[in-house]
Symmetry: C2
Amino acid sequence: MKFKEETIDKETLYEGKIVDLNLHDVRLPNGEVSKREIVNHPGAVAIIAYTADDKIIMVRQFRKALEKEIIEIPAGKLETGEQPEETAKRELEEETGYKTDQLTKIGSFYTSPGFSDEIVHVYEAHTLYAGTVATDDDEFVELIEVTLDEADKLIESGDIHDAKTMFAIQHVKLKRIQNS
Amino acid sequence: MKFKEETIDKETLYEGKIVDLNLHDVRLPNGEVSKREIVNHPGAVAIIAYTADDKIIMVRQFRKALEKEIIEIPAGKLETGEQPEETAKRELEEETGYKTDQLTKIGSFYTSPGFSDEIVHVYEAHTLYAGTVATDDDEFVELIEVTLDEADKLIESGDIHDAKTMFAIQHVKLKRIQNS
């Protein structure tokens, strides 16, 4: 790696429930020293799941960072020691009441490589059966089921507006076109 | 908004060059109080641009948050008072030396609505002409031009692994299939 930036000093500014914030002094490739603000995150999963009548299962929730409600595919952060696929099954059931035994990974991505190590693993679930809703104490979500056309309209209106949901919807569209 | 979470107290934990970190005490819909860790970011732009021989212009750079180099489409954060389209033109030229007068917005998304307000505006540029590279003092990038097939292989190998680049590549594939 020709552009590697070695940490020469690191200050932990915050250790939280969701994120940590670390300030690194780094040695640049040209020998100079610079600062890097890094938000560390345990990583997350997201699941695009379809009902028997081919609707996509989504959740509407208030996002404090955005000061508004948006509609997203079910998602959640990785707990310590948990494999992403386990997290995906757990979060799908907890948030939506739907269970699945069958997940296919459709991709993963770093959300903001410029300042964060957060990675999102995205799964697809087809066969669903009834489970038990069990949202966290501070989590309030409304279940919504939409067709692919309705999802497109929700993107246009800005109700769907996050990376993982838009990535998953594009993935489904591409796959269906390629298989048709 | 039935799930709105009102801020009842806010502590600014950090104000940085790229991000601020704010800890909110919020009133939940059920009346309880909870904490929300919010990373505020000015927003960013990304540009998918094509050379005359239809290659996609990318940059390889070391990302401290990931402790490795990855390959991304050109991108950069919004400066105060700057319109996203201006930022897109400026960043494209500064990072790659290519200029454009013609940008089409292909979408925008929140990268991590669970903890951050960062939004990325993604543009497409077709007609390019020669400009002047002018990277920041602490920015080291290598220019790469890849075909769409090569981009797919770079996704498989993990060299391309970020939300904006994967979203833009999916968009191009969908558009080309729909137009063919």
